[in-house]
Each structure stands twice: as C-alpha cells, then as structure tokens.
C-alpha cells in the first residue's frame, strides 16, 4: 500500500497527515524571532506519511518523545464522518470565525476569563488551552518573574495560585475528534524534529588560518560569506562557559529574553522544558556590562577588528550580543539593519545556517519596499517544511552550513540569513561596519 494511504488508514490518534499551510507573520514583530524547537536527542516516534511533492518516499516527520497529538489535521476528516468534528458544535455562533480569528479574540482575554472558557465545551477547551495565549499572558503580566512549570498555562496558574508542597498539578484533559489545520500545524511545529535532509547540505567556503588580507580580498571585499575555523582558539570562553560555570557566575543576573528580562537560572529551567514552535531566545546586548568577566572571556577575531562603530564610542547602537538557546530556537529570515556585516561565533553547541545574497529574496519571505517590514512564515520549522525544498532547483542556491563550537560565520552585509540551534547552544555575535563601506551608511548614523 502506498505510504500516503497507510497514514490515512491507520488510527487517527497515532498518525497524522501533514497539511501545508502558509501563515503570515503579524505586522510589527522584530526580525529576530524565535523559531520552533527541534530536539536532537530523545526517542523518535514516527509519524509515517509521505511528504507532498517528494519523489523519494520520505519517512515523514519525527516527533519528540512523549508527543501525543490530540488535535488532528482536517485531512483526517476525509476518512471519518465529517460530523465527527467537535469544533463547530462546541463553538455555537462563534463557529463563524476561523481558528486564527477566534484565537485573536481569545488573545484579548485575561487569565481568569480564558480559563473559564475551557469549561464551556470541549472545543473551547482546545482553543483556550492553546499555549501561545498563555505565554503572552505570562510575559505580559509577570514579565520575567516566573518559574516555568512545564507549560505556560501551568506556569500562569502556579503564580496565581501556588501549589502546596504535596500537591500535584491537575492533569490536562485529553480531547478527541477535534480537527483543525491551524492548531495542528502549530502543534506539529512545536513537536517535530529537524529532518536530516534539511541539515545535510554544507556548501559554504571555509578558511582556516588565513591572513586578514586574504580574508578581505576573498570574502569581505566581494561580500561573500565564509566559515572561519581556528580563530577562537585563544578564547577562555570555549573552556569556561559550561552551564555549571555560567550559573555560578551569573545565574541570578537578568538577561534579555524576548520581551522580558529573566535570570539565567530561570531561563535554563524554561529552556529545558519548553516544547514550542518559537522558543524564547536569550539575546542580550549588554552582557559585557552585566557580567564583566564574560567580556574578558572573548575577543573580537582578528579579521573584524577594523570597525567604524568603534568610533562612536558610547553612542554606538547595540552591536554585540550573547545568544543562548535550546534546540529549535533561532532567528527566521532577516537582513541586518544599517548595512552592517556580522560575525557569529559558536562557543558551545551547533547552529544551522541558511543564507541568500542580497538580491535573492528567500522563498516565502515578502519584504516591504523599504525593507522595514518582513513578512515570513511564523516559525523556522514551518519555513523548512514549506519552502526549503523550493530552492533546490534555483540557479542561485542558498549558502548553507552547520557552525560548530570554535567556528565563526561571517555574514556579509545585506545577506538574508536564517539560523536555528540544533542543540543547546551558546554564541557571541557582533555587527560591525568596515571602513570601506562608509559611503553606503545611512546619513543619520554618519552624522553622529
């Protein structure tokens, strides 16, 4: 039996058919958004369906351990009684709204009202327990001051009504016969792993021990990306920055995590437990001031020391970040602002990079004419699922690589780039402006 049919015939609770869906990102979100999680470790549970358009009978999506879907995609209704879908029955007049619009409305509710909704019907239970809703509530109301309790909903509840030491949190209800493409896609992106073929291609040029002049001539001048090996050998950070050490040195220092400030301790607690489409990413531009020891644990690689930004002294905009995140966190496609170039050094872990030259807009990305707004799929995982295959046949293929501990990626100015952590990773990145680029600089910054 063809593998596509096999997945439809099997019980709906154990196998699901993936349906493609393109979603547009909301206006106003920053380019450095969090992506879905992809665990490298853990047991694999086969979903076992044929990916559309793939001739090689792909194996389907591998799910993370203990992921059990309660929501099913609409395609599964083809072999079930259409009236079996409890969605509409449980919404009453609200069934007139699409899943997205209903979630937009629910996103305006406070915690108590959202919680009460889950008692109204099974369908509203599924909608009102949608994790991104609770994440917004936690981050809005509590900012970073929370201890992640396994899910955003439990986290919110635990703050409002802390459990006594011997109390166990109530378990979630298992709902069946709920079919929804939007919610299923969201669940799938949160619970699936990166496919091997998405990380297989590595076509970036590499350089080891090259001179600065050679770097400038071969890469900086012609604006080409390169992966540099061996130039972090002198960094204390490479041997020092274990999790244990970081917790000792700055476990209670608050770092920028998405819209909030969180202690490192709390962040790790979250990162270890989160199963999300877009995990929160620790991305702090003031780590060196907050933890001076970190400043002395690294130095700018020799190739990037001529930096126009340095002339601005204290007035220079944010230019360097420490980046910490679990597998699946990262940044979806964007171009760095102000025509800057960047370097990104992995201290521990590994990152998958996909880069397109300035004149090639990645598939699925729609920049506004001034480049200020970028509309692209919600998560990195969704991009890989729906768009990665498209550029296989393009004349100008993307530049791809995996950057591992001790390696540095040079991102030339104007290049589109997408990055996803393949495991728990720590990295340092800096934007810089080479002197020769002065004339391309925006006036406002020049006049500073």
């Amino acid at each position: 039996m063809p593998s596509a049919l096999r997945s439809l015939v099997a019980p709906a609770t154990s196998e699901n058919k993936q349906k493609k869906r393109k979603r547009r990102r909301r206006i106003g979100e920053s380019p450095r958004q969090i992506s879905s999680r992809a665990a490298v470790d853990g047991e694999e549970q086969h979903v076992g369906e044929e990916e559309e358009g793939d001739e090689g009978a792909e194996e389907g999506f591998k799910l993370k351990a203990a992921a059990s879907p309660t929501i099913q995609p609409l395609g599964n209704l083809l072999l079930a009684d259409p009236s079996a879908n409890i969605r509409d029955r449980g919404l009453g007049t609200l069934r007139a709204l699409s899943d997205e619009l209903l979630l937009d409305v629910l996103g305006l509710l406070r915690g108590r009202d959202l919680a009460v909704l889950s008692t109204v019907s099974k369908s509203l239970y599924v909608f009102s327990t949608h994790e991104p809703l609770w994440r917004s509530l936690v981050l809005d109301e509590l900012e970073g001051r929370f201890s992640f309790a396994g899910s955003w909903r439990s986290t919110y509840a635990s703050v409002v009504s802390p459990l006594l030491p011997d109390q166990t949190p109530p378990s979630s209800l298992a709902v069946s016969n709920f079919y929804s493409d939007y919610l299923f896609q969201s669940w799938l992106c949160a619970n699936m792993e990166m496919k091997p073929e998405w990380v297989a291609r590595d076509n970036i040029e590499r350089g080891r021990g090259i001179s600065v002049d050679e770097f400038v001539a071969r890469f900086e001048e012609p604006n080409k990306p390169v992966l540099l090996e061996g130039c972090l050998d002198g960094w204390p950070a490479l041997r020092k920055w274990t999790r244990a050490h970081l917790l000792r040195v700055c476990g209670d220092v608050e770092f920028s995590v998405g819209p909030a400030q969180m202690t490192l301790r709390r962040y790790f607690r979250y990162a270890d437990a989160a199963k999300e489409e877009r995990p929160l990413y620790l991305f702090d531009p003031r780590f060196a001031e907050k933890v001076p020891e970190m400043d002395s644990d690294y130095q700018v690689p020799v190739y990037f020391r001529e930096d126009l930004f340095a002339l601005l002294g204290r007035e220079r905009p944010d230019y360097r970040w420490v980046i910490i995140g679990p597998a699946g966190s990262g940044s979806s496609f964007h171009v760095d602002p102000n025509s800057t170039s960047a370097w990104n050094a992995v201290v521990s872990g590994s990152k998958k990079w996909v880069m397109f030259p300035p004149e090639v807009v990645p598939p699925g990305v729609h920049p506004s004419p001034d480049g200020a707004e970028v509309a692209c799929p919600v998560s990195i995982m969704e991009w890989f699922m729906n768009f990665y295959e498209q550029c296989k046949t393009w004349r100008k293929r993307p530049v791809e690589c995996i950057c591992r501990a001790g390696e540095v990626v040079f991102v030339p100015n104007g290049w589109w780039h997408l990055v996803i952590n393949l495991e728990d990773s720590v990295a340092i990145t800096q934007n810089y402006e080479k002197f020769v680029e002065c004339s391309e600089f925006p006036w406002e910054t020049q006049c500073k």
Binding site: V105, L108, V116, T119, S121, K122, L124, S161
Partner: protein, 241 residues
C-alpha cells in the same frame, strides 16, 4: 385603322403613362433625392452634433481625468449580492487589500468581494469613510489606527463613532463584520470587532457564555468536573453555576 389607333392610343397612353411614370418617377426620384438630401443633411447635422458631443465629451473626460489625476479617483466595490459602493481611492486605501489591488492596477473596473454581503460591506465602507476624515494619512499601515495625533474632540468623535457602530449590531452581523475586516485587511475595524466580541466573553460564568453564544455543553459530567478542578484557581472568586 382602329387597331392602329388603338395601338397608337395604347402607345400614346403608354407613352403618356410612361411619361407620367417618368414624371412620377422623376418626381419621386426628385423627392427621393430631396429626401436623401434631407436625410443627408439630417445625418450630417446629427453627425456634427455627435462630433460636437464627442469633442465635448472627450475634452470633459480628459479634464475629468486630469482632475482625477490631481486628487479624486474613485473605486467601485461590489458585494457578493450585487450592492455597489463608490468611494474615493484615499478612503479605500484604509483596506490594505484594496490598496494593494489599486497599486497593482487591477481595481480599475471595480472590485467584487465574493465573501462579503452588502449589509456588511456598507458597515465597512462607513467605517472607512469616517476614519478617513480623521486619519493623518499617507502611511497606509497606519490608516485606521488612532495614533493619538488628534485633538481631544477628534478622539472623542472617533471613539463615539466606533462605539455606536458596533453597539447596534446583532451577534451574527458583528461576527461577519469581524471576518470581513480581516478579509479586507482593515486593521482598526478588526481590532474594534475583536475587542467587542472579547467584551462579551469577559466576566461571565460558564453557563452565561453558553447562553450568549448558543453553545451546547458536550462534556459528560465527570469530565466537566475534571476541567473545573484543572482551573479551580480561576473559579475561586466566582460563584459557580
């Protein structure tokens, strides 16, 4: 002789007749000519008139177009049940969907919205028209937002309009308007309708929500109890039904 006479007579009669005919013919020809002339004259007059009209029309439409070029271009939007609405392009730009269609040049012969009814489209258009007068204009994205660059009285007028617009709507119309504002990408109206629906969900008990939205309870009693247990923290201050 007689036959000759007859013949002659006949021929003369014939001749006479023929000449009569001729005359008649001639006169009729003349008449026809005259008529033709008249017709020609008439037609040429008509033509001249027509030409004049055409010239006038052309020049006025050119003038119109130039006028339109300077400020006032309109777009015609039709609902799925045939109701037409003509509005200034500047007003229509409040809908990002219409804005893009106009920019792409595919709205010149009007736009038909297959999923929006006349009743709903009328509400959307009235929203666009009212907000256009208060908009600080130009940004496209900012249209429909109240950025606070208005005077207090303008803000009040905006708030009053929005409140009155949604106050009168029954639930089905409100939900349809929400969906339409999403479809037509009218940001401010989408926010307004979402907020209005959200208000109907706030501060209510389980049973009140079921009644408001005609929702059937599909929980078996033991599962309902389980869920209440799950969210007991939210029910603590409320009276249970």
């Amino acid at each position: 002789m007689a036959s000759q006479d007859c013949e002659a007579a006949a021929s003369s009669r014939a001749a006479a007749a023929s000449s009569q005919d001729c005359e008649a013919a001639a006169s009729s020809r003349a008449e026809k000519e005259e008529q033709k002339t008249v017709r020609v004259a008439a037609s040429s007059r008509a033509k001249k008139k027509e030409q004049k009209t055409v010239r006038v029309a052309a020049s006025s439409s050119r003038a119109e177009k130039e006028e339109q070029k300077e400020e006032r271009r309109t777009v015609r939007v039709t609902s799925n049940d045939g109701e037409e609405f003509e509005m200034d392009e500047a007003v229509a730009r409040g809908s990002v969907m219409l804005r893009h269609m106009m920019e792409l040049g595919i709205a010149l012969d009007g736009v038909t919205l297959p999923i929006v009814s006349g009743e709903i489209l009328a509400l959307a258009v009235s929203y666009l028209r009212f907000h256009r007068d208060y908009d600080d204009g130009g940004s496209g994205y900012g249209y429909g937002y109240s950025y606070g660059y208005h005077s207090e009285s303008e803000d009040t007028a905006l708030t009053n309009f929005d409140r009155d617009l949604v106050k009168q709507l029954d639930q089905a119309t409100l939900l349809d308007l929400l969906a339409a504002s999403n479809y037509m990408e009218i940001e401010g109206l989408l926010r307004l309708t979402c907020q209005t629906v959200a208000e109907k969900l706030k501060g209510k008990t389980t049973e009140e929500i079921r009644q408001t939205f005609c929702i059937q309870n599909d929980y078996p009693p033991e599962e309902e109890e389980e869920v209440r247990e799950e969210i007991s923290w939210a029910l603590e201050e409320k009276s249970l039904d």
